[in-house]
Subunit: 410 residues, 2 copies
């Protein structure tokens, strides 16, 4: 979530908007609005203007960053304009007399365990996730039954543009995980992973590959999944603020990437991945065999999960990435013992792991960079990527993906 401090400029905004149904001419509706909704809109300097009809409410706030009080305009609608926002995708909610709800003006996005509103502040360098006239792949919804969890599960699978025409070709597979409070839709809905891949492939910057996006919130029959959605139900109480960047979710043990031992849930996902998901993918799609054709990465909790799963199963994975989720080193990184001692023999590790990638937003703190340096000092070859000016948000992860995918399966 952005760390920008928002200030109240309500006095001017209602006059700027007047009683018109349309926003000021230099305020462009966000790309994430529902069809025809003029608000929220974004000014050229990235201030964002919100509006909501709440005729009988006493207090209305926009919950973005540190939050922002709205004011009733002469037209009886509530308005707020923020200070300039960081570029990228930002979830938000409204508080209406204390009820925390999505803004009905925008599409909704699953994050923190519920459906949020969101704005997209355009990135001037966001050409890599823009729709272009290039051959298009597909994102395929595929249901499958898991013996480990005893449930039907949904995976989304990206297939590259040539998948249905090069019918003799077998493709490498990249398992790509979402973060805490999210689900299997995050990477293609918020992340635009299909658009980024189509563009990378068209420019011959990445090899055509299959990308599997599953739900890492896996529990065994009878176990509670509440730890993944501890703040999920806004009906139960006034919710806590959004998760602190880099913090582990409530009730979940520190992930393996942080030097911990992983949690029950993380071991269930690993077991499910190996017993159910990989076999389904390899029976359903034309998949190239073997560890050198298999990559894994994830964002935030999904990065920690990746370190836990892939580093413990290097017979199955040769490419490993953590995006804002592999800072490691806290509680004392020791190359001889951390992550089950996988880093102890650096030469052997470097031979096995073709790419070890650590990505982070520059606003997220120094932990990941320190971890990268510790690894380097221990002789472990790794790539450190820092996204300039971004925080624990989707723009960081789109950029991490764009940096990581071209290095795969070379």
């Amino acid at each position: 979530m952005t760390k920008m401090i928002l200030t109240v400029v309500a006095a001017s905004l209602c006059c700027a908007a007047g009683a018109s149904a349309q926003p000021p001419s230099d305020c462009t509706p966000s790309a994430l609005n529902i069809p025809g909704a003029p608000y929220p809109c974004i000014y050229p300097d990235n201030r964002v203007m919100f509006r909501i009809a709440a005729p009988d409410a006493q207090k209305v706030r926009v919950r973005i960053g540190s939050g922002f009080d709205m004011a009733k305009g002469p037209d009886g609608l509530w308005y707020a304009t923020t200070t300039p926002q960081v570029i990228g995708f930002h979830c938000y909610t409204l508080s209406i007399d204390g009820a925390v709800v999505a803004d009905p003006s925008t599409r909704t996005f699953f994050g923190s365990g519920y459906y949020n509103s969101a704005i997209e502040v355009p990135d001037p360098e966001g050409d890599y996730y823009a729709m272009k006239d290039v051959p298009r792949g597909q994102v395929r919804q595929r249901w499958y039954h898991s013996k480990v969890t005893g449930t039907w599960r949904r995976a989304y699978i990206y297939t590259p543009p040539d998948y249905d025409t090069n019918t003799k070709t077998k493709y490498p597979v990249f398992y790509l995980l979402h973060g805490w409070g999210e689900n299997e839709q995050g990477w293609h809905v918020q992340g635009h992973v299909d658009v980024i891949m189509d563009n990378l492939i068209a420019e011959k910057k990445a090899k055509p590959m299959i990308i599997v996006m599953d739900n890492l919130n896996a529990v065994k029959p009878g176990e509670s999944a509440a730890l993944y959605f501890a703040r999920g139900s806004l009906t139960q109480a006034v919710p806590e603020p959004p998760p602190t960047p880099g913090a582990a979710p409530a009730g979940r043990a520190a992930g393996p990437g942080r030097g911990g031992r992983g949690s029950l849930a993380s071991s269930v996902f690993t077991e499910m991945l190996i017993a159910d998901l990989i076999p389904m993918v390899e029976q359903t799609f034309r998949v190239a065999a073997g560890r050198e054709n298999r990559a894994m990465a994830g964002l935030s909790m999904g990065g920690a999960q990746t370190f836990g799963t892939a580093l413990a199963n290097l017979d199955k994975f040769a490419y490993v990435g953590g995006f804002s989720g592999s800072s490691g080193g806290r509680g004392g990184f020791d190359p001889k013992t951390s992550n089950g001692g996988v880093f102890a023999d650096a030469a052997a590790f470097n031979k096995k792991v073709k790419v070890l990638f650590l990505g982070i937003g520059s606003a997220e703190g120094p932990g990941t960079k320190a971890f990268s340096e510790q690894l380097t000092q221990a002789g472990i070859t790794n790539i450190y990527y820092e996204s300039p000016g971004t925080a624990h948000e989707w723009l960081t992860w789109r950029r991490c993906f764009k940096e990581f995918a071209p290095r795969l399966f070379r």
Copy 2:
């Protein structure tokens, strides 16, 4: 929307729930809730209990059917319990001091031009849309550029379970349209069309086919799409009630199925379908050629659109269906002139159109049945299907689909 009259039983419901975080033991959380959310829950007699945290609100209502006031319980949360609801999928919103918003306890669904909450009241005969251990197809997201609209558009395409293994087989194609205020996601998200097809194919009740679900809200560059979403932005004013069953959306001319001439938008969709969508589908998928391998149907506005598009292009379609959207006959059905005179030569029509299907919920009124009888009287072979006890809602349309799909491509 259900026509059930809801009555206030707030006095008893807050005591029933007490201050516990969990609902009464015989009240089962709706299948559409976000993970871990105990409310809304459904009693065995199909009463539905709602809950929301709105600590400082003065008035909270559940907007389902004719609406229902919530009452604050001893735990400070707001509760309401409805009278028994009709089985099936029902959208709803909350009014919190006059702000109309989605309930944060449920997933959200695009309808009436914005994202609604919803409950699913189980249908005891809903086995046909239940997940079973059968071979599974896929629903594929495919972006394509339309020359007619000048925009990137998204289609979802269902491919049957054997599509990727029977690589020599070419498949017939069924173009399936959503209703007013909905989009290309409706049929697989609310309609479970992929699950229904997988089940029908496994039971050998329907032939394997490709199903294309696109967005019928098509306008030319520079034209406004507002007529499709006239009530879409809840931020602009207190919204009107949900659309009356069978009524045309505001600003849209009566559809061709109602004896009108269609609207600009409907002709743009037809032009886009023929110029852009069908060619994309036939270049991307293994499609059997010709009109006898092409079907079209839609719900509500999509039914009227189907009658407008398919009956005017019988060189391209041999199977035609309207689900709650083809009542026709109003303003005077005349077999010699209605729908451009396509019914004038009954023998020729019956030879060309392999199936003409008219479906409706029994609670929607007699218009579609009357139209079917008029057609029969004019010598036009048609199938009339009435879904028992259901209204202008998704359960009607799931059932219509289940009745229509087995008759295709025989």
